[in-house]
Amino acid sequence: MTGWRAFSTVVRWDVAREMRRRSTLAAMAATALVVLFVLSFAVDARRADDPRIRAGLLWVTWILAGAVGAERAFRGGRDAMTDGFLLAPIPRASLFWGRTVSTFLFTTAMSALSIPVFLVLFDASVPSAGLAWLAAVSLLALLGMSALGVLLASMTSSVRGGDVLLRLLMLPVLLPAVAAAVTGTGQLLGGQDPGIRPAALLLAFDLTFLGAGHLLFDHAAEDRT
C-alpha cells in the first residue's frame, strides 16, 4: 500500500469512527464552552476590549480543548484503534500523518464551533478585511498543535497519569505557536495588519514538528504495552 493510500485510509477511518460516536468532538466542544465561559467571567468580558487579551482567551480555550482531542486520539494503552493500525502493513509515518490530519480536522471543527460563542460572549465582531489572514493564521497554528499533540500523546497515552504529563510536556513547546497566533489574531481582531511574521513563525513551527513526527513517530509507537 502506498504512503498516500495508507494515509487517506487512516484519515477516513478516524473520521468514520468519530462520526459514529462524536465523543472526541463532543469532549472538545464541551471543554471549549466551559473554558470560554469561565474565562470571560474571570476577566469580565464587558471590559476586555483589548483585542490581544481577547485573542489570548480564545487561544487558551483552543489549546485546552485541543489537548483533550490529542489525548483522545490515543486513548489509553488499550486503544484498539491504535494497536490495530500498528499491525497494518503501512509505514508508521503514514499513521502519524493520518492521525495528525484527523486531529487537525477535529480541532478545526471545535474551533469553528466555538467562534460564535466567543463572538456572543465578548460582543465582538470579526473585521471582514483580515478574514482570510485570520483563517490562515488559525489553521497554521492548529495544524502545528495537532502534529505536536499526536507525537507527544502517542508516548504519554500509554503511561499512567499520561494526560497530566501530556499537558506538562506540550504547553511549553507550544509557546512559540501560541505567541505567534495570539499576536496575529489580536492584531487582526483590532483591525491592524500583523505583517508576515506570525504566519512565518507558525509555518516554521509546523514544518519543524511535522518533520519531527515523520522521523520520530516510529520510535514513539513501538513497544506499546
Partner: protein, 264 residues
C-alpha cells in the same frame, strides 16, 4: 561529599532463603534514581553553587578596575553569561545523545543523555536565578517581562523540567530511554522558535545586552567562559556516575532474582 547512594534499598533486597516472593519483580526501585530522592540532588546543587561562588570570587579579583567601580552586581554577568552558554551547550549535547539512543538503543548513551538533561536543568535554574538578580539590580524588578533572554530561559526551564518529569514518570517503563530522547530532541528543536517568538511577539523593550565592551571585560569574560563549562562537565560526570551506580545496583538485583528463579 557523602550522598546516600541508595544501593541498599531494603525493598529491593533479596527475600530470606526459603521464602520465595510472590512476584520476583515486586519491590520499589524508585529510590535508586537520584532525581527521585532529593537529597543527593540538593547536595549536588550545593556543591555546584559553592564551586561557582568560588570561581566568581576568583574572577572578581581578575576583574578590571572599571568594573569594580560600577559595583559587584555587574559581576553577576560573569556567572550568568557562561552559565547560559554552557546551558545551551548541554541542551544540544542532550539531544545529540538522544539521537544516538534512538539510532542504537545504547544504554550508555541513554545515561549520558539523562545526565546531560538533568545537569542542563540545574544550569538553567542558575541562569534564571542570576538573570533575576541582574534584572533586579539593573531594572529594579525581579521578574522582567521585557528581558527576552530571561523569558527564553524560563521557557527552556519548563521544557527541561518536563524532560526530567518524563524520565521520572517512566522510571520502570522499558520505553523510558526512547521517549526521553524524543522529548529532548523536540525541546531542542523548539529553542530557536522560542527565541524568535519572544523576540518578535514578546513585550521586549530592553536591548538584549548591556555589556560594556572594554578589552579587560572581554578578557575576564572569556576566562570565565572557558573555565565554567569545564566545571560543569565535572558536575555532569557526578550526575552521570550517580545514574550509573543506580543502574548497576538494579542490574545486580535483577541478576540475583534471576539466579533465584533458575535455582527454583
Amino acid at each position: 561529599m557523602n550522598a546516600p547512594a541508595d544501593i541498599s534499598h531494603p525493598a529491593g533486597m533479596p527475600p530470606p532463603a526459603g521464602m520465595p516472593p510472590d512476584d520476583p519483580d515486586a519491590g520499589d526501585r524508585g529510590g535508586a534514581y537520584p532525581f527521585a530522592s532529593a537529597i543527593p540532588f540538593a547536595a549536588h546543587a550545593a556543591v555546584a553553587f559553592a564551586g561557582v561562588g568560588w570561581l566568581d570570587h576568583l574572577i572578581a579579583s581578575l576583574a578590571p578596575q572599571a568594573v569594580k567601580q560600577i559595583g559587584t552586581s555587574y559581576l553577576i554577568q560573569y556567572y550568568h553569561v557562561p552559565a547560559a552558554i554552557s546551558m545551551y551547550l548541554f541542551f544540544l549535547l542532550c539531544a545529540v545523545a538522544g539521537i544516538v539512543v534512538l539510532a542504537t538503543g545504547s544504554p550508555v548513551w541513554d545515561r549520558r543523555a539523562h545526565a546531560l538533561g538533568l545537569t542542563a536543568l540545574l544550569l538553567n535554574a542558575i541562569v534564571l536565578g542570576t538573570g533575576m538578580v541582574w534584572g533586579k539590580t539593573a531594572w529594579g524588578v525581579w521578574w522582567d517581562w521585557a528581558d527576552p533572554r530571561l523569558l527564553t530561559s524560563a521557557v527552556a526551564f519548563l521544557m527541561y523540567l518536563g524532560y526530567s518529569m518524563l524520565q521520572d514518570a517512566l522510571r520502570d517503563d522499558p520505553r523510558r530511554a526512547k521517549f526521553a530522547a524524543i522529548y529532548g530532541i523536540v525541546a531542542l528543536l523548539n529553542l530557536p522558535l522560542v527565541h524568535y517568538a519572544i523576540k518578535w511577539f514578546g513585550t521586549a523593550s530592553h536591548p538584549a545586552d548591556v555589556k560594556m565592551k572594554t578589552p579587560e571585560i572581554s578578557m575576564t569574560l572569556s576566562v570565565a567562559m572557558s573555565v565554567f563549562p569545564v566545571f560543569w562537565l565535572l558536575v555532569y560526570r557526578w550526575v552521570h556516575d550517580r545514574l550509573a551506580l543506580a543502574a548497576r545496583a538494579e542490574t545486580v538485583m535483577a541478576r540475583l532474582r534471576r539466579l533465584e528463579e533458575d535455582v527454583r
